[in-house]
């Protein structure tokens, strides 16, 4: 096999099967013309090094085969701005999910600031790279038509976040997409598919937070509620006009949330601040911290109950009216 055959075989291996023979035949003709042109210039047959130089000048087999590909960009210029927007959001999300448990851990004295910073950097990089990798694969799939998006990118001005008016009342597609992302991440944590950020809090030296048994009892109901809420977000994202379906799903999710709140309220203590061999004044500090935690968790549960009741009332109203509130339509 001479150099030309070897070069063409390398290109052929990278070409689509259906067009391979045709393209290689044409490339062979082009390259033979080039070689003959050089021979005519020099007035003699080319040496092996000169033939190689001609082939090298034509381009690396990967680059040559790439020119004949259907798509030459991983993410095209139309999709790219959406991809970058998503990546920026995911970076913020990665920073938040890495920093929040770490701050709690530092406040509880389980981690000093220097180690905390190191944990933050490694946790942030891992989470951010994973999320960006997933976003890149999804965007590349959309670009090639492997992932159908239907009318997802069909947008209305009314769907845009109302940045000039903080008292916005509607859930836009942007919010639904963000909510869906958070819920999917939560489901992955809750099912153990990815390491939970709160794993950092447990098992540190000094003081650590231990989850109360109620969380084990409620493991499946919480998972079911998260899946239901994710479905509601997905419907909002895909079919924002399906107001009654969205209202039904919202009511179901909110009723589930309310039932969960009731179970948590009756369970009493939700987290235990457990000392690691604490005694004396440290034990007293821990008791104080436990009391503060109990109070703040119960306050939170109470506020959430009010929020769920309000959401249910609004969703029932939407279900019977079949329309969004005026503010939703006006956007």
């Amino acid at each position: 096999m001479d150099l030309l055959d070897r070069y063409l075989a390398a290109v052929a291996a990278l070409l689509p099967r259906a067009q391979r023979e045709d393209i290689v035949a044409e490339l062979r003709d082009i390259l033979l013309n080039r070689l003959e042109e050089k021979e005519a210039e020099r007035g003699r047959p080319l040496e092996a090094s000169e033939r190689e130089a001609v082939l090298r000048a034509f381009g690396h087999p990967i680059a040559v085969a790439g020119r004949y590909g259907a798509s030459r960009t991983l993410i095209g210029p139309e999709l790219y701005p959406f991809y970058i927007f998503a990546v920026k959001g995911l970076l913020i999300l990665a920073a938040a999910v890495t920093a929040i448990p770490l701050v709690i851990s530092i406040l509880l004295g389980g981690e000093d600031a220097a180690r905390g910073l190191a944990h933050f950097l490694s946790g942030f990089l891992t989470t951010a790279m994973t999320l960006i990798g997933a976003a890149t694969m999804v965007a590349a799939g959309i670009e090639r038509g492997w992932i159908p998006v239907g009318d997802l990118l069909d947008w209305k001005v009314a769907d845009l976040p109302n940045l000039g008016r903080p008292a916005r009342k509607t859930k836009t597609r942007f919010e639904a997409a963000f909510e869906l992302g958070i819920l999917l991440l939560f489901i992955c944590w809750w099912t153990g598919l990815v390491a939970a950020p709160w794993a950092l809090i447990v098992g540190q030296q000094g003081v650590f937070l231990a989850a109360a048994p109620i969380w084990t009892t409620l493991h499946l109901p919480i998972l079911a509620l998260a899946v239901l809420q994710a479905m509601a977000s997905l419907v909002t994202l895909a079919r924002p006009d399906a107001i009654r379906v969205r209202a039904c799903l919202d009511i179901l999710a909110d009723l589930g949330g309310l039932a969960l709140i009731a179970a948590l309220w009756t369970a009493g203590r939700l987290f235990t601040v457990a000392p690691s061999g604490a005694a004396g004044s440290k034990a007293a500090d821990i008791a104080g911290l436990q009391a503060s935690l109990d109070l703040s968790f119960h306050l939170t549960v109470g506020v959430m109950a009010v929020v769920f009741l309000s959401k249910i009332a609004v969703a029932v109203w939407r279900l019977f009216r079949g329309v969004e509130r005026p503010a939703l339509v006006a956007g």
Binding site: I23, A25, L27, D29, I30, F58, G59, R67, Y68
Partner: protein, 110 residues
Amino acid sequence: MPTDADIFETLRQELRRGTLILAVLAQLKVERYGYSLRQALAEVGLEIDEGALYPMLRRLESQGLLTSEWREEDKRKKRFYRLSAEGEAVLVRLSDEWRAMNDTLQNLIR
């Protein structure tokens, strides 16, 4: 940071990209194979990289603007391209567009 020369070269290539398609279509009113087409363009002062020319020919053919057939010439099989009927119609429309743009730009950059 790109230099002035880099910026100029990028802009020049962007300017040329669309016009090369028009030039290729115009040259294929008569049947040519790839190498002879490239030579014909070079003779009128339009150098075109082979890496861009051959994929462009295939794209134009897949769009129905060119037809092609394999024939033997000089004891070698060559792929000959020429304008299809649809390609001729598109060439007329693109030529009109080019003239209109050229007139406008002549007035602007005078």
